[in-house]
Amino acid sequence: MRNAIIVCALAVSAVAATPPIVIQNATILTVTKGTLNGSILIRDGKIAEVGEKVMVPAGAKVVDASGEYVMPGIIDCHSHIAADSINEGSVSVSSMVGIEDVLNPDDIAIYRALAGGVTTANILHGSANSIGGKCTVIKLRWGKDAHDMIFEGALPGIKFALGENPKRAGNPTGQRIGAGNVSGRYPATRMGVEDVIREAFNEAKVYQQSWKDYNEKVARGEQVPPPRRDLKLEPLVEVLEGKRLVHSHCYRADEILMLLRVADDYGFKIRTLQHVLEGYKVAKEIAAHGAGASTFSDWWAYKLEAFDAIPYNAAIMTRKGVIVSLNSDSE
């Protein structure tokens, strides 16, 4: 735990263009090049040198880490911190909304996540919708303004969700539910979830084509009014064009395969499967599609669709060639 604190404290102070920092006498877990005992030189917010012996520049701040470990800052692939709202749960396709609009740098959870060693997090929209809102990758730059937390250059994402959560607000009767003042929202079944995703991408393809046609006409010198911009469909066109990554909440093997098939049909990729507790059952198919898997280390059986989870999920998926990460799902 203490080791992790060293990592993040450095990450924060380094961004502020302070003098160079040298961490000496540490056990360094490089991840890519094994473990070594030595030093790290940090300059202008970047790792300048790693090795058994590192030159100490004049004016550098020296940290003696004897008996301590240094590792890369933890990257949390599934987090809900640092945002003032998470779920636009009113509709089954909420791709018009985005976490970037509501980032909150004052959220104390940022500080707590830093204390746990997390320096980067993928802030995901909630899982109430078959197609959810846009996601943002942030660096946990505590003390900076919202916009300064955004990880420059990280590809933007979008949340999808399968299974119980997106169909829970649904109602098979199509009638009003609750106290009679809440209407049942489509879909109410797993079949319906697939249908919602397919219909949304059918719409997105028509929309994409309308802009292609318009741009061609303009290029030919024709005078035509432009199509209406649609904030719900624009992110889906970006998905189709590979400019936005899909992070899909899922549990069961059957729905995982369903989503991979839908993606193949429409010609886009699923970047990560989130939770993916039955991923071990279809690990080869996940690997073949090229999707990553972001799962829990030891949390399951909290609802029916999490029943078939096993503690070997991450290990089995890794062995079958899936890129696996462990996430916090923290709020």
Binding site: S85, E88, S90, N104, D145, A146, H147
Partner: protein, 454 residues
């Protein structure tokens, strides 16, 4: 003399065509706001306008004279964000701000007898939008609050429809008049926006802050597209399908500025970025955490409307539930916001936040003064600055020749507890305020509070 004056004004009410008789207030202390204090001067009002002001002003022969010894003349106060004059809007708790959910869509409000409209499926259903409503069409001189509000020194309010995301357009109105039309000084004050959400899932779009923001963004994109489509249609009416008339977009397009709710510092940061992105002229309102936001506001050259209704613990809050340190901090520091903004050169106006008792209003202003706001800055933020913000400084906001005869005449300094508001002039019409007694339990007297004298 006084009785005669009253009688005369009563007869003026009966004959709306006749302007109020000329009035001269002589030998009074005058705070013109646009210039230095006049220790002893005269103000002449004629035809509802300020006819003359200064030290060497002659009292016209036909003017009713008010002896100003011991009296102070100020410009009438302007409530920079209000619902005063719109009777339906009372009670006056502003609906703005996060979590102001629970409101039915506007379509349902206007026709309560009809079955509830289906939940909004998305931005295309224009949820919580009545952008076409105009305050100038809604104000009535019969709003019961007006008498109390004038007793606070308010002669003008920039009043808005207050329900919904795009609630409607404001107007600058004087707080007295024979007819609704008498009250209106200027329309097109701006579009009032709140971050209204539907509670829970399945109740309709939007139910989150990011949903509201996405909705607002889509509306401005649609407004741009609508303008383009209409232009194109005007140029090529033959052979072009005509664009559908959209009153929601018409209302947004004709609003010269947009009022956005900013509670915390993050809201200020977020909404400055948002209004730059949308190319709208924004006025941020609320600002209880404005004391942390001055440098953001200054560097964006933004304008703030600060609510005088300082945050307090809700009366019905659970005493077992402790407040977070952030909440306590904001409650403690909020009244320092005007002083911090003034020190940093941020343009701001103060608004009542619905406070409609003189004692409460003065106490709220004094809290800001106690936290470092210069009294003259407080006065300016309730007179000339709001007039400038809304583009009516040529008519309102100072005691100057040619401006509308809106004045407050006090015995004692404005905003002091013991100060008496002697007269209020609206469009040259004199009112002698009678303040409503403080609300209390019937029968409750000082004697019934045995702890008081111990």
């Amino acid at each position: 003399m006084k009785r005669l004056t009253v009688l005369l004004f009563l007869s003026t009410f009966a004959l709306p065509a006749a302007p109020p008789a000329p009035v001269a207030i002589r030998n009074a202390r005058i705070f013109p706001v646009n210039g230095p204090v006049i220790a002893k001067g005269t103000v002449v009002l004629r035809n509802g306008l300020i006819d003359a002001v200064g030290v060497d002003v002659n009292v016209p022969a036909d003017a009713w004279v008010i002896e100003g010894d011991g009296l102070t003349v100020y410009p009438g106060l302007i409530d920079a964000l209000s619902t005063f004059g719109i009777a339906e809007a009372a009670p006056t708790t502003p609906s703005g701000g996060r979590g102001a959910g629970g409101q039915a869509p506007a379509a349902q409000q206007s026709t309560p007898s009809q079955p509830a409209a289906p939940p909004a499926r998305g931005p295309e259903d224009r949820p919580y939008t009545t952008s076409w409503l105009k305050a100038e069409d809604l104000v009535k001189p019969t709003d019961r609050r007006l008498e109390n509000v004038r007793a606070e020194g308010f002669t003008t309010a920039v009043t808005f429809p207050d329900r919904g995301i795009f609630a409607g357009q404001g107007a600058v109105v004087n707080l007295a008049g024979e007819t609704s039309g008498d009250m209106v000084v200027s329309g097109s004050a701006g579009q009032y926006v709140t971050f209204t959400t539907t509670p829970g899932f399945g109740g309709g779009y939007p139910n989150s802050l990011m949903g509201v923001m996405a909705y607002i963004r889509q509306v401005y994109l649609d407004a741009d597209h609508y303008k383009q489509a209409k232009q194109f249609y005007a140029a090529h009416p033959r052979g072009t399908p005509r664009p559908e008339y959209d009153r929601a977009l018409e209302g947004v397009i004709e609003s010269p500025r947009v009022l956005l709710p900013a509670t915390r510092r993050i809201d200020v940061d977020r909404l400055i970025r948002f209004s730059n992105e949308l190319h709208i002229q924004a006025l941020l309102y609320g600002l209880p955490e404005g004391y942390r936001s001055a440098e953001l506001l200054k560097s964006a050259n933004a304008t703030a409307l600060v609510s005088l209704k300082w945050p307090e613990k809700a009366r019905d809050s659970d005493p077992e539930e402790p407040d977070s340190i952030r909440v306590l901090e904001i409650r403690d520091h909020a009244p320092s916001t005007p002083a911090v903004l003034a020190r940093n050169g941020v343009r701001f106006a103060l608004y009542s936040g619905g406070i409609d008792r003189r004692a409460d209003l003065f106490r709220a202003v004094r809290k800001a003064i106690d936290d470092g706001l210069a009294p003259e800055d407080a006065l300016r933020a309730m007179t000339l600055t709001p007039a400038e913000i809304y583009g009516v400084a040529d008519r309102l906001g100072s005691v100057e020749k040619g401006k509308i005869a809106n004045l407050v005449v006090t015995k004692g300094d404005l905003f002091q507890d013991k100060t008496e508001v002697k007269y209020v002039f609206v469009d040259g019409m004199k009112f002698e305020p009678v303040e409503e007694p403080p609300p209390g339990r019937p029968g409750a007297t000082e004697a019934s509070n045995p702890g008081d004298n111990q």
